[in-house]
Amino acid sequence: MADETRKKEILDKLRNGVIQYDEDACREGAQEAVAEGLDANEAIFDGLVSGMEEVGRLFEAQEYFVPEILMCADALYAGLEILKPHCRQMDLGVKGSVVIGTVEGDVHDIGKNLVKMMFDVAGFTVYDLGRDVPLDKFVEEQLKTDSELVCLSAMMTTSMVGMPKVIEKIKEKNPNCMIMIGGAPTSKELADKWGADGYAEDASNALKEAIKMVAFLKKLRDEKAQKK
């Protein structure tokens, strides 16, 4: 195990690599982490995800915009690809799988992909249905995979209106399944009205919501580790 100074150096490299959308730095940092025996989960959460949290803040402050976020996401994935095979299984007491997609009539998937990224990071099994997904496909896939979370995305008002149908069908068959909706036209009011458990109106919000969920999982993990 690397000493504390070295560990901080590697985590900083991962974190800054994400913030400065430097794929090479993230790759390098990840390789160093693996080579020097740094815990892969720690490298992901305290390096890559910590960087993404800062990116979310920069977006909020209107220093970063969507192009930057997309490049940061590429950098995060570059590191994640190397670290993931070295992750120990996270035992959180939940199975952790999610069905995600953009609803039929909509071909915009940037927000969806950002949320997906955070679930990838958190070690979820992600069933990504892609975009322009027929509504029944969400219901089928949820039943088939018994996922505890379904995320529906739409960027256009013109495609959002299919959402309540999916929510109703899923909740009817599986009341415990959590549903998150996202996209520019969605709102808390609509989420409440349609019976969704969460919503995110834009990329930054999606990122924040997903980070919140992931942070929650991390807290669970830490609490568990403390008990041991």
Binding site: F65, E104, M156, T157, T158, V161, E189
Partner: protein, 341 residues
């Protein structure tokens, strides 16, 4: 003063009796479609059905315009993309792009098809505009719309790639946007020749929720200016999302009017742009007009007017399932409150 006179006078900044209520974007209603016995999926491919449907919003509710097209894929299709109109969908699904024209950075060097004006549904749209004008053109102004260069580019290639390249290889994107602008100029010209009184340019993808004001100014504005300059009649520039930081740039693009949505603080924009500027907006066409009740519709219309819009106009397409009573309430409120200011 009928609706046509009112709207055209507004564009010319002449005195009118009250604030008009119209749109430059899609505004067909399910009520209208059903009355005609049409199906939503069918009207995109039939000039007569499209024109008939577009006329119903005026005929049924007194909405002060007639606008075609209904979807956002006309230009991309003419450029060579394949679209999906969801022909078998029971509900309302707007056409989307099924197949892009550009699949990667190395394919960005495209040129304009020489016969663009006769490709895809451009001829169908011209016919629809002619029919709509013949039907209700003496009573209301006839509008049509094209996309903005950046929004069109985002349909023709992966938006994800386009956004990243806007940052990494701005010159390459600028070149593509210039080709997009040339395409849009041709299409807008066809629409004008067919009888459109005003053209709305919808640069929806370039909102400041997505791109920085700096990128907007350097990359988005020049081709947008080029398109708007080529429109000989009245033009409206619409951008979605948070636009308060770019309303001045929007005006610099040179349109007759700008159109903003509910995330714009219009009172603030009015202060910035002065009393003379034409600002259209800015009610939420879904959360107010479709899912709100009549009282919310009325209070929202009043707020738009109090904030200083030049015309009450929706932030996006009107969603077809709008309850008829909300359309009636909107027009009634315009008639009573719209003249008081």
């Amino acid at each position: 003063m009928n609706s046509r006179e009112r709207v055209l006078k507004l564009f010319k900044k002449e005195a009118i009796d009250r604030v008009p209520c119209f749109s430059g974007m899609g505004n067909i209603t399910e009520t209208g479609i059903n009355k005609l016995g049409y199906r939503f999926a069918g009207i995109h491919l039939d000039a007569k059905q499209m024109a008939d449907t577009a006329a119903t919003t005026y005929k049924l509710f007194g909405y002060e315009c007639g606008v075609v097209p209904v979807d956002l894929c006309v230009e991309a299709e003419a450029m060579g993309c394949v679209i999906n109109v969801y022909p078998h969908a029971e509900g309302i699904l707007y056409p989307t792009i099924k197949e892009k024209l550009i699949h990667g950075e190395d394919e960005m060097n495209i040129s304009l098809p020489s016969d663009l004006a006769s490709r895809g549904r451009v001829p169908l749209l011209k016919e629809a505009i002619r029919l709509l004008k013949a039907d209700i053109g003496s009573e209301v102004a006839i509008g049509s719309y094209v996309l903005g260069p950046f929004t069109l580019a985002g349909q023709i290639m992966e938006l994800n790639d386009l956004l990243k390249l806007s940052f990494k290889k701005a010159d390459k994107v600028a070149k593509l946007l210039d080709v997009m602008a040339d395409a849009l100029i041709i299409v807008a010209k066809e629409y004008e020749n067919a009888g459109a009184d005003y053209i709305t340019v919808r640069e929806m993808g370039a909102t400041s929720d997505v791109l920085s004001p700096r990128v907007f100014k350097n990359l988005i504005l020049p081709p947008l200016q080029k398109v708007i300059k080529s429109i000989s009649g009245h033009s409206v520039l619409h951008i979605c999302g948070k636009t308060n930081d770019i309303v001045t740039s929007m005006m610099e693009a040179g349109p007759t009017a700008i159109s903003v949505e509910q995330k714009n603080d219009v009172a603030e924009s009015r202060k910035k742009l002065g009393g003379d500027a034409l600002i259209f907006g800015n009610f939420d066409p879904y959360n107010v007009l479709v899912s709100g009740n009549e009282e919310l519709v009325r209070s929202t219309i009043r707020k738009c007017i109090d904030d200083g819009v030049s015309a009450v106009w929706p932030g996006c397409d009107i969603w077809p399932t709008v309850p008829p009573q909300n359309m009636i309430a909107m027009m009634d409120e315009i008639n009573t409150y719209g003249g008081k200011k």
